[in-house]
Amino acid sequence: MTDAPVLEMRDVTVSINGNPVVDHLSLHVDPGETLALVGESGCGKSLTALSVLNLLPDVATRSAGAINLQGSRIDTLSQRQMDAVRGSRIGMIFQEPVASLDPLMRIGRQITEALRLSGPVSSTEAEQRAIAMLDRVGIREPALRVTQYPFELSGGMCQRVMIAIAMIRQPALLIADEPTTALDVTIQAQILELMADLRRDLGTAVLLITHDMGVVAEIADRIAVMYAGRIVETGPVNEVLGTPAHPYTALLLRTVPRIDGPRKKMLPAIEGIVPEATDWPEGCRFRDRCPLATEICAEMPLLAAKGTESHRAACWHSDRVAEVA
């Protein structure tokens, strides 16, 4: 067997009203690994995830590229064919666990519904498996919980239920879009630990969408940093966080206050705002906000190897990144 990537996106473009908001994006997630797709609001990271699921909002269209799941194309499938992929081969969890669950359906049924989609299963067996899965995701008294409604559970428990629903059919790929952003910090730590456990036990590959470098450092193997619709830097987490080769990555890392950082000092700020897709500058899209920008930045830099083959950044001035932060 070859170690083909679980997910491979090549040159994927997503447009809204003719403007590319995800622009020729390529990435891959290998078996059992967690790739963190990191960026600020509007960089296109969520649209990237939705394009894999073929769940883009109506205004957005995918106009180029190819998406492969375990070696076969899924971007050419019809919605009906994708129904067989979503849930069974790709699991999903989102930011708002409470809003993601049906408020009028008992927890047990929401989990068994996922099971029943994949084929006939007796109700007793389905319930047993739901209870076992709840137990697996760390919910106490699972037999009681399956009879309850989402409002009777805390936000953290709802996210565990979402993970149970996503994982019960043992998908090859889990897409987690800001899975801990709406949760309290102690609950976040528990959910991250759970995700790491499940990945270890079941070998699931994870595409993690997040804006939080703390979360990235905690559970990701590789990282892809997005800015204005493009990946500007990618590589193993320790390399990218240790020696960032793009000034945006470096500034993102330094602009966040740290629990072990200096206090009451001005933070290294990224001036200005993320430009709208209609206002992206020619060439490097970060150049208007970049302290290193020079004339050459009017030309679009390619994602080129920096140091090692797997660590790549799209910047003309990677050698000067240490100056910015």
Binding site: E40, S41, G155, D184, V185, T186, I187, Q188, A189, L192, H211, D212, M213, G214, V215, A217, E218, V237, N238, L241, G242, L251, L252, L253, R254, T255, V256, P257, R258, I259, D260, G261, P262, R263, K264, M266, L267, P268, A269, I270, E271, I273, V274
Partner: protein
Amino acid sequence: MSIEPLIQVRDLKVHFPVRRGFLGRPGDPVKAVDGISFDLFAGETLAIVGESGSGKSTTGYAILGMEQPTSGTIMIAGQDRAGMNATDRRAITRRVQIVFQDPASALNPRMSIGDSITEPLQIHGIGSAKSRRDKAAELLALVGLQPNAANRLPGAFSGGQRQRVVIARALALDPDVIVCDEAVSALDVSIQSQILNLLLQLQGDLGLAYLFISHDLSVVHHIADRIAVMQAGVIVEQGTVEAIFDNPQSEYTRQLLDAVPSSPLLSPRP
């Protein structure tokens, strides 16, 4: 010699009645805030940290008069809030202002930025239309926006710029204290640092005190002088930032600190 605190809270309780079912008997009240005491001094930042439901926002609202305390006292500049007449309350309102979490919902989408900023002045009958316009321009400059922003609507601005507008409005009445209720939580990281820098700079320039309500320990570590850790309506520990982070006394504080994602990869370079 002792300095009088700007805000002194003693044994504050805010309980909410709960009815069981339709027309049902009153059940046990929700004890959102259940007997807390703290002081806020001029020019300092006191952070109230806790998880959702700990009562930290309710505490802020009680100080602002947006929630009625069940018992306890809130002294603002030496005056008991409960014993104030309408005139005193107005005067106190000028001294304590608030910045909310979500700048999108904190601004009237149909009101120009200039009108939003000067509405507090209008409500308090301060200045003429002309002097208020001048004040708006001055406040916009103070928070790092162009004076022509005054004529535009909130929709023309990004989240970070709107939060600057909300801060400008909170500054309009020259307050001594700003209650920041998760004021940077909804912002992207690059914008969050811009607003934190602005808050620090304003504190230095204007001598403001902040009651900084937040769930984010890293942010609190950065901006606060002292911290009160809340859990289930009570303060489990309070002290200086150094004391809380270096030597936490309460088990809950330790749990909170342990839960913050930390990696040597993210530590500041020497």
